[in-house]
C-alpha cells in the first residue's frame, strides 16, 4: 500500500480511490483549464465520483483482482522518448503502415508518407457521452479524464491500400512510478472500404503501470475491418483494454484478440450491430501461465434484425493461471432473424489452473438462431498415447496437441504474414 496517498499527495499523482479531488489534482499536473470545463470530461468525472472503480462485489469484476492489482494513485504518463523503430517489436510486419504511439502520444505521424484515403490525426479528446455503463465498466470514463490526445484514424472513400495498419503502442517507463497510460483511438471506416488494423502493446523499461486504453470503431455501410489486438509479454503491468465497435448495414467488423505471457489483462470488447445484415465476429486466443489473470468480457449487441455474429475463444492455461470469460449476447426485441453463435473452449494443462466461464444470452426477439457452448478439459490421453507410441516424447506431444487446439482460431487470422507468425509454437508456454 502506498503510504503517501492518504496524507499529502506527491505532486503529479492522481488518486483512484476517490475522485472528489480529481480535477484539482489534474490542474496541479498542469492540465489546461479548458479540459476541466469540457462537458464530456465532466460527465465522465461525475460518473466516477458517483460509482468509483469496481469493487470485488461487482459481478463484472468478480474474478479479476483489481484491488490487489491497482495502486491507489498514479502519475499520468507524459510524452518522453519517442524514437522507436517499428522493427524492434514483434511481430514485425514489414509491409505494414506503422503508427507508433508512445504512452498514448503519437510519435511518428509526421513521418508517415501520404497514403491516399488514410487520414491519421491527433486532436483533443472529444465526445460528451460514453456508451459504456460506468457501473459495469468505468475504465473508458477514466480514460476520458486522463487521455490528453485522441488519435483519429479515418479510412476514407478513396482508401484502397492493401497494406495493414499496425498500431504499435510503446509503453515506456518514466522516472517515477507507478504511471497510468491512457491511449485513445477512434477508427472510422467509410462506406464500402476495407481495412486491416493490428494493434500491439510493448512494454519498454516499464514495471508497475496501469495501461487503460479506449478504442472506438465505426464501420459504415458495406465496409469491412479486421482488427487484431496483440497483448504479449506484458508482465508487471495491468493492461485494461476497452473497445467498442458500431457495425452498420452490410458491414463487417472482425476483432481478434491474442493474449500470451501477460500477467494481468482485462479486455472489455463490444460489437453493436445497428443496421440490417451487419456482421460482427470476435475471436480470442488466451495462453496464460504463472499466476496470471486474463479476463475477457465481450458483448455482442444485436440491435437490428438479420445480423450475424460469431464468437470463438480458446484458452490454454498452465501453472496457476486464471482466466475469466463472460460472453454476453443481447438480441433486442426487433432483432428478428438474428444468427448469433458463441463458443468458449479451454484446455487446462495444470491441476491448479482455473477458468471462470459464463456465456450470457439475453434474447428478446422470438425468431432467432442463437447458440452457445463452453467446454473445459485437459489433454486427450488417447491422443497423447498415440503420439508417444510413435516416438514423440510427452512434452513434444503435449505441444503438438496444444497447437492443434488453438490452431482453429489462429487460422481465422486473414493476414498471411501475421497468421504464419502465430502458427506452430509461438503461443505455447512451454516450448519443448
Amino acid at each position: 500500500m502506498d503510504k503517501r496517498n492518504n496524507k499529502r499527495l506527491i505532486k503529479n499523482m492522481v488518486q483512484l480511490t476517490s475522485f472528489d479531488g480529481f480535477a484539482k489534482q489534474l490542474i496541479e499536473n498542469g492540465i489546461d483549464d479548458s479540459v476541466i470545463q469540457d462537458a464530456g470530461f465532466n460527465n465522465a468525472l461525475s460518473a466516477l465520483q458517483k460509482h468509483g472503480l469496481p469493487s470485488p462485489k461487482n459481478e463484472e469484476w468478480k474474478y479479476f483482482p483489481l484491488p490487489t492489482l491497482l495502486k491507489q494513485s498514479y502519475i499520468p504518463a507524459s510524452v518522453g522518448k519517442t524514437e522507436f523503430s517499428p522493427s524492434s517489436f514483434q511481430p514485425y510486419i514489414e509491409q505494414a503502415i506503422h503508427v507508433v504511439i508512445v504512452n498514448g502520444f503519437p510519435a511518428n505521424l509526421h513521418e508517415l508518407s501520404v497514403i491516399p484515403g488514410l487520414e491519421i490525426v491527433s486532436s483533443k479528446k472529444s465526445g460528451d457521452h460514453l456508451s459504456d455503463d460506468p457501473v459495469k465498466n468505468p475504465f473508458p470514463h477514466l480514460n476520458r479524464l486522463l487521455s490528453q490526445v485522441e488519435i483519429l484514424i479515418r479510412f476514407n472513400a478513396d482508401y484502397s491500400d492493401n497494406r495493414p495498419v499496425h498500431i504499435i503502442h510503446v509503453l515506456h517507463g518514466q522516472e517515477f512510478s507507478p504511471i497510468i497510460i491512457s491511449p485513445s483511438i477512434t477508427m472510422h471506416i467509410e462506406e464500402g472500404i476495407h481495412a486491416f488494423v493490428i494493434e500491439s502493446f510493448h512494454a519498454v523499461k516499464l514495471t508497475d503501470a496501469l495501461v487503460n486504453t479506449a478504442i472506438s470503431i465505426q464501420a459504415e455501410k458495406g465496409s469491412e475491418i479486421h482488427h487484431v489486438i496483440i497483448e504479449e509479454n506484458l508482465r508487471d503491468i495491468v493492461q485494461i483494454y476497452n473497445c467498442n465497435s458500431i457495425v452498420k448495414g452490410n458491414a463487417k467488423v472482425q476483432d481478434h484478440v491474442i493474449i500470451h505471457d501477460s500477467n494481468a489483462v482485462r479486455n472489455t470488447i463490444t460489437g453493436s450491430l445497428v443496421n440490417l445484415n451487419a456482421t460482427y465476429n470476435i475471436f480470442g486466443i488466451v495462453s496464460a501461465n504463472g499466476k496470471s489473470y486474463v479476463d475477457n468480457h465481450t458483448i455482442v449487441d444485436h440491435v437490428a434484425p438479420h445480423c450475424e455474429s460469431n464468437e470463438m475463444y480458446k484458452h490454454v492455461l498452465s501453472d496457476s493461471s486464471t482466466a475469466i470469460f463472460n460472453g454476453k449476447i443481447f438480441v433486442r426485441k426487433d432483432a428478428q432473424k438474428t444468427n448469433a453463435y458463441q463458443s468458449n473452449r479451454t484446455l487446462l494443462l495444470s491441476p491448479t489452473s482455473t477458468i471462470n466461464t459464463k456465456p450470457q444470452l439475453e434474447i428478446f426477439a422470438d425468431d432467432v438462431k442463437c447458440s452457445h457452448g463452453a467446454t473445459t478439459g485437459s489433454v486427450d490421453e488417447e491422443a497423447l498415447n498415440y503420439l508417444r507410441s510413435r516416438g514423440i516424447s510427452r512434452d513434444v506431444a503435449m505441444n503438438l496437441l496444444t497447437e492443434a487446439f488453438i490452431g482453429e482460431v489462429v487460422q481465422k487470422i486473414e493476414l498471411d504474414s501475421l497468421r504464419s507468425h502465430y502458427e506452430g509454437s509461438a503461443l505455447l508456454s512451454n516450448k519443448a
Binding site: N385, R390, G391, L400, E403, F405
Partner: protein, 250 residues
C-alpha cells in the same frame, strides 16, 4: 529379438494374462489367434506401454532391454511399432506434421540425421504409394474423417515410414473389406525383411491367406495353449475355437 517370459498381467483386480511365453527372432512373422477375451489386445497394449495394466509376474525383453522399463516413446525409439485396432483421430494435427515429428524423434534416438522438409515429403509420397493412399490425405488432420480402411492403411503407412524392427498388428483386419485387406496385406508383406519381425494379432484366418505366418500361436484364457505352423490357422478355421477349448479341458 523379443522374449516374453511367463508374463502375468491384470487390469484392476482381474487377471487377463496368465503366463505368456513367446520368442520372436529376426525375419519371423508370428500370428496370434484366439477367441474374444483371450487377452490378445491386452498383450498388444502392454507391449505398447499402456498404463492401465499391472504386470504381476514375468518379463519382456526386447533387443536385450527390459521393455517394461521403457516409456512408450522410448519403445518406439528402440524400434517397436504397434498398429492400433482403433486408431485415434487427432483434429488439428496433420498426418504430415505428426509423422515428420515422430520420424525425426526416432532418427535422433538412433543417431541418424533428421530429414528436412523436402526429403521428408518425397519419402512420404513414396511410402504412401505402398498402401495406395493419395498424397492429399497427408495434409489432412490425422485420421479425421477417415474410413475404417483408410485408418488401417494409415497405420501401415506409418509403419513404412518409421521402419520398425518389430511390428505388432493388432487386429488390423477388423472392419476391412476384401480390397482394403489386400492393400494392407501387400503393404505388410512389402515391408518384411530378414532383419525385422512381425506379430499379427487376428481373430480370423482370412488375413493369413495374404500374410503367411511362420508360426501360429493360439491364445486362450491368457495363455498360449498351442503353437504350430501356418496349417494350424487352417485347422482352427475348420474346427473353430471350441476345438481348442475341448483340447485344453481334457
Amino acid at each position: 529379438m523379443l522374449k516374453i517370459t511367463n508374463l502375468h498381467a491384470q487390469i484392476e483386480d482381474t487377471p487377463i494374462l496368465n503366463g505368456i511365453n513367446l520368442t520372436v527372432n529376426q525375419g519371423e512373422l508370428h500370428a496370434i489367434m484366439g477367441p474374444n477375451g483371450s487377452g490378445k489386445s491386452t498383450l498388444a497394449s502392454i507391449m505398447a506401454g499402456r498404463e492401465d495394466y499391472t504386470i504381476t509376474q514375468g518379463s519382456i525383453e526386447f533387443n536385450g532391454k527390459d521393455l517394461l522399463e521403457l516409456a512408450p516413446e522410448e519403445r518406439a525409439g528402440e524400434g517397436l511399432f504397434l498398429a492400433f485396432q482403433y486408431p485415434v483421430e487427432i483434429p488439428g494435427v496433420s498426418t504430415a506434421n505428426f509423422l515428420k515429428t515422430a520420424l525425426n524423434e526416432i532418427r535422433k534416438c538412433r543417431g541418424q540425421e533428421t530429414l528436412d522438409a523436402m526429403d521428408f515429403l518425397s519419402l512420404m509420397k513414396e511410402k504412401a504409394a505402398l498402401v495406395e493412399l493419395d498424397s492429399t490425405f497427408l495434409q489432412r488432420s490425422l485420421n479425421e474423417g477417415f474410413s475404417g480402411g483408410e485408418k488401417k492403411r494409415n497405420e501401415i503407412f506409418q509403419m513404412a515410414m518409421l521402419e520398425p524392427h518389430l511390428s505388432i498388428l493388432d487386429e488390423t483386419d477388423s472392419g476391412l473389406d476384401i480390397d482394403a485387406l489386400r492393400i494392407v496385406a501387400n503393404g505388410v508383406n512389402a515391408l518384411r525383411t530378414k532383419d525385422n519381425a512381425t506379430i499379427v494379432i487376428t481373430h480370423y484366418q482370412r488375413l493369413l491367406d495374404y500374410i503367411i505366418p511362420d508360426f501360429v500361436h493360439v491364445l486362450y484364457k491368457g495363455k498360449i495353449v498351442k503353437t504350430g505352423g501356418k496349417e494350424l490357422a487352417l485347422e482352427l478355421e475348420a474346427k473353430g475355437y471350441d476345438w481348442i477349448k475341448e483340447t485344453i479341458n481334457v
